[in-house]
């Protein structure tokens, strides 16, 4: 690993992590502690309509949420915009104009004035779900990271002009990473001649994923890159760029992988099997990208939170200190994984671009 995150950087993060997660929250108190923790973890992994820092239950059973509401944007025969505080964390019905909406298991459904959720035999909600373009916790985090990145790298770009080609401040930390991405990822995989046009994407995707992963390790603990829609969006961008910039050789490689090494009549039987596999490969590549990132980040969050949850299950100093030690160790590993996943996503994207940009070299 070229970039090493120092341990003393990880320690405060790991420590800050805990108090917020200890505030175990459950909107429907059901069953024992284990199910409660499990529900809490899965609730955390999902996207949310408000940016809650933590929540707690009062002695009288009321739930108190500390955080800020975010705008909910729905398309339901016209644009409906309202604050997520109206949803009352699924405990009430939001009235917007003449429509009523209710939050059920992290999704907004259209209901009647009483907020009745109808379930079918398979326990699936039969209520109408409006098209949802809400600025959720994940969207908010992405916007935050986008602004941060823009601020950071725009300043780095400007510092070159001021300082005669030498970066200052935090730019000294990021510039080697940028150069590393160019020299170790883009150039060897795409090739000296064509790498330039892919650099913007590779740099953006690397820092975007890395920063979002790191944001997930802060006490805010937003699980953005561990969300299938986000990784799908990232992977589909790679997919589109790969296939839009694909050269003649790239397509020839897919539809005529054997080339002139065989006569057409002997190739045709092989191709009945080979071509579908190659075509499938086009889709499997970005699919593996999206699943890898999603599963790694999801798994990281689950592991850390489960270990923290162990503290409440053991309820003894041995178990709690053991759980603390384990959480600490895993949190440090997660810092590495945060970087590694961003690196692998960028690396494999570059590799796929390299396939697409290839020009008659090797098969």
């Amino acid at each position: 690993m070229r970039i090493q995150i120092r341990a003393h950087f990880a320690l405060p993060i790991a420590l800050l992590f805990m108090p917020f997660l200890i505030q175990a929250k459950d909107s429907k108190p059901s069953g024992d502690l284990k199910t409660e923790i499990k529900e809490y973890i899965f609730h955390h992994l999902e996207d949310a309509y408000d940016f809650s820092l933590f929540s707690y239950t009062k002695d009288n059973g009321d739930h108190k949420y500390i955080g800020m509401p975010l705008p909910v944007i729905l398309w339901d025969n016209g644009l409906q915009i309202f604050s997520s505080s109206k949803l009352q964390h699924g405990e009430g019905v939001a009235q917007v104009g003449s429509n009523f909406y209710k939050l059920d298991h992290g999704k907004i459904f259209k209901t009647n004035a009483l907020g009745v959720i109808n379930l079918d035999a398979g326990k699936q909600v039969t209520n109408e779900a409006p098209l949802d373009f809400s600025v959720t916790k994940g969207v908010f985090s992405m916007l935050l990271i986008a602004f941060l990145m823009f601020f950071l790298f725009n300043r780095l770009a400007k510092s070159y002009l001021k300082n005669g080609g030498v970066p200052t401040g935090i730019g000294r930390f990021f510039e080697p990473i940028i150069i590393y991405l160019r020299d170790e990822i883009a150039k060897p995989n795409i090739g000296e001649r064509k790498y330039r046009s892919y650099m913007s994407f590779l740099l953006t995707v690397f820092f975007f994923i890395w920063f979002l992963n790191m944001l997930g390790l802060t006490p805010l603990g937003v699980n953005v890159t561990g969300n299938i829609a986000v990784t799908f969006g990232l992977a589909i961008t790679t997919f589109i760029i790969t296939n839009l910039t694909g050269t003649k050789d790239y397509w020839l490689h897919i539809f005529d992988p054997l080339g002139g090494s065989m006569k057409w009549y002997s190739k045709i039987f092989l191709y009945i099997i080979l071509i579908p596999i190659e075509i499938l490969g086009i889709f499997i590549k970005p699919f593996s990208l999206l699943i890898r990132l999603y599963a790694n980040m999801q798994a990281g969050h689950i592991v850390i939170m489960s270990l923290i949850g162990l503290m409440f299950i053991f309820k003894s100093w041995i178990g709690s200190s053991l759980s603390f030690g384990l959480t600490f160790a895993i949190a440090i590993i997660e810092l590495l994984v945060a970087f590694l996943q961003a690196y692998i996503f960028t690396m494999l994207s570059a590799l796929y671009f390299g396939f697409a940009a290839q020009e008659h070299e090797s098969h």
Binding site: L131, A146, A157, G165, G233
Partner: protein, 166 residues
Amino acid sequence: MEKLISEFSLGLFFWQTLIFVGLIFLLKKYAWKPILSAVNEREASIKDALEAAKEARSEMESLQSDNQRILKEARAQKEALLKEARTIRSEMINTAKVEAQSEANKILSQAQEAIQNEKRTAVNELKDHVSSIALDIATKVLQNELESKDKQMQLVSKLLQNSDMK
């Protein structure tokens, strides 16, 4: 798999794509292009500087070798000059010697000639002197001899006797 599909949120996907693609284009314009061009520029300038240094070094080396060569040439030239001077000197000495010799010879021969001439004139003068003296003496002798008639007669008779009148 069903869980994944049910988890998929279209809204989040929409926003993600929007933010991400927007970010790519924004950063491309305001960050990556200036950063990469600055880095490239710096690298190029470093490369140029290194090359210039290398060039300067090789130039210096060639200069040094030039110096060496020039020094060597100068030394050789000096050597040659010295040698030439030496030969010229010895030549000069030689010619001077030869000239002096010939001059001396000439002077000697002139002197000898002059001596010879003087000698000749001296001998001639001496001859003249001697002859005049001899003539004087002879005259005096003759005068003495022919003072008396007898003696004259005697002589004539003697001469006549010797001449044999026939």
